[in-house]
Symmetry: C2
Subunit: 392 residues, 2 copies
């Protein structure tokens, strides 16, 4: 065995995440490790909480980064709120609603599914009906921004339906946080989880979560213990919570939190609304180029996410071969379709630091030359001028 | 809100972990992020697995890093192996055996406790008796190297007792991996978890685990699903497993795995046995100085861990004040006692990159001046020459 240091290629990341990480963020990650109970670290934790409150637009005291990827954040929210035998209404319009179902059932709870087509938003009417049929449902769960399709659901309307039915609202904001309008307090979201590696443009591995007071009341009055010790909010609060003694629970991922801190400073400096606007504007430029090329989007404009673009594949084209050429010749990563959309779309991410004019030109230009070379029948040469016109 | 970049102080980390991280490791962490399904990343994953097999001294195919801290690694091993109603014999001789009990019970399983005094190893005789009283126990769990006390238990002997009773063996090697003799295959360990931030000297946040074929057979023939989707080895194997398609499960913490890779390259280059010997030799130097000063160790020499030294506090001395002075004046972190040993010991870590001659001199010298200044009645000036004599 003679393994040497790993030097990754330098890619442009325009898939469904991780997105491009700004050198300021990787630079922060490389700072010297200190103890997770060091007073200096504890001070940084407070700043991370404050900046996460800003990003989520909430005053929730329990707004913290879970020390693991978004999937663990998903489990943290469900496992803390659900007990055996509880009923949850779970909306599925893509991969991640299906994962929610898995997680609910592994909590020993019952998942009542509300199904919508992939690429469509969650239908509030169906959710109303599900509550009528299940007035005992404890919570409503849905994905705000479906990473597998690029569709945005109306979180505020869905939240109101849940509260009208005395249920909690739990949402997946992995792909929306920092990239699209998201207002936890105004929309009265009770539990929310996200990921560090999408529109926050941090490295993957951390999941910001937030719980409302209503959710905390449910957690602190549970009859049974949370099934995960690691994710038990009652315990985590001793380290991260308001007025906590910062008592040892688990060893925090120190350097990953440096990175999250730096990415949140960058978001603060840009301004949240400015970040949302940048994601929208860059989507419009990409859209102009994609449509000029003759390709189209599978999600209707009304609920299309600017940061995750599911784009059709020209007939007869081997989509995996295209991605492979983009990666090998141009160091450009775009995403494959997932689940029901595998082989049917490319997913082009314009998230966080990836949402930049130069990335749009690279992506459109590379797609143009590769598809033209493959004889895909696109309008060669039309994409870049169209995109540029939109940028002006 | 006007939060600026976080620049941590530069500390010397001689607590119970995280330990000092070599600049090669933080440097690796700062390399450009790439996709978790990128062919280049997949190649690096294979190298990480190979080097973890070396560190664990195992041929186990399922030897992988869990994408979360050691506490999650603990849950990954228990949750995959235990089902509702199963019985586990859990040994407790410090904090972490108690955490194991929590985790077992949250799996809906029964924990039969074998108790030993804090600072003592697990008593094999008591384990024999526990199996006699509980012949239906499915597994035996214990901590190989108790981070809360610094005591090493005899993993090989305990493992044989479990197998003689047709039970699986699950061990916590958070503090032993890389620092003390540990031979997963020779000792026939079925499930083991560790942490990145102790003797591997990587940043915190990753938990290497390994499962034997016997354990995998148990996992793949479960009657019920693993209660955590995130930690379900049946699913994780699709991404990390042998002959896996590297299918998406969760987004791997890319940059943290760069760091782990680099720390494992450094371990490979040093040689595992050389690393064990370095930890032993540096412990002997620290011991000479501590004893020359007039302080002592709470763990008997026979089963004392070289990498985690629980040292007595002079009568009448405010131990927290000492730690505070060490941190503020010398940027030196040593650990407090935990649980039953809170206020009774300091825990001085000599783990991984922290286990160096210069750190020993700093720690002894700083303790000497601070305790002398406080009138603690130590043999001032005796520690450094004693340590230096041992190093020669």
């Amino acid at each position: 065995m003679n393994i040497t240091s790993f030097n990754p290629p330098v890619r442009t990341l325009m898939g469904p995440g991780p997105s491009d990480v700004h050198p300021r963020v990787t630079g922060a990650m490389a700072r010297p490790c200190i103890g997770h109970l060091d007073p200096a670290f504890v001070g940084m934790m407070d700043e991370v909480k404050t900046m996460l409150q800003y990003a989520f637009q909430t005053k929730n005291q329990l707004t913290i980064p879970v020390s693991a990827p978004g999937s663990a954040g998903m489990e943290a929210t469900f496992q803390n709120l659900l007990e055996h035998g509880d009923k949850a209404i779970v909306c599925q319009n893509g991969v991640f609603g299906g994962r929610m179902k898995e997680v609910v059932e592994r909590c020993g709870a019952i998942a009542v599914m509300v199904e919508d087509d992939w690429g469509k938003p969650v239908d509030p009417q169906k959710v109303e009906e599900a509550f009528k049929a299940n007035p005992d449902a404890k919570l409503l769960a849905f994905v705000h921004a479906e990473t597998s399709t690029g569709a945005r659901s109306d979180a505020q309307t869905l939240s109101k339906i849940a509260h009208d039915n005395d249920a909690l609202v739990l949402i997946d904001a992995v792909t929306s946080l920092g990239g699209s309008e998201l207002k936890v307090d105004e929309w009265e979201i009770d539990a929310i989880y996200s990921g560090s590696q999408k529109c926050l443009s941090c490295t993957p591995g951390i999941s910001p979560v937030s719980f409302s007071q209503r959710a905390i009341d449910v957690i602190t009055s549970r009859k049974t213990k949370v099934q995960s010790w690691f994710l038990d909010t009652n315990l985590v609060m001793g380290y991260w919570g308001p007025n906590a003694k910062r008592a040892y629970h688990h060893t925090a991922p120190v350097n990953s939190l440096y990175a999250l801190h730096e990415s949140l400073v960058m978001l603060q400096d840009e301004g949240l609304e400015n970040s949302w606007a940048r994601h929208t504007n860059n989507h419009l430029a990409l859209r102009a180029g994609i449509e000029a090329m003759g390709l189209s989007f599978i999600v209707d404009e009304e609920y299309r996410l600017p940061q995750l673009n599911s784009v059709t594949i020209p007939d007869g084209i081997d989509e995996a071969a295209v991605r492979s050429i983009l990666l090998n010749e141009f160091n450009l990563e775009i995403g494959a379709g997932l689940g029901a959309l595998a082989g049917k779309v490319w997913r082009i991410g314009l998230m966080g630091h990836s949402s930049r004019a130069e990335n749009i030109l690279l992506c459109l230009g590379a797609l143009d030359v590769v598809l033209t070379d493959m004889g895909a029948g696109i309008n060669s040469g039309a994409a870049l001028p169209a995109a540029q016109a939109t940028m002006k």
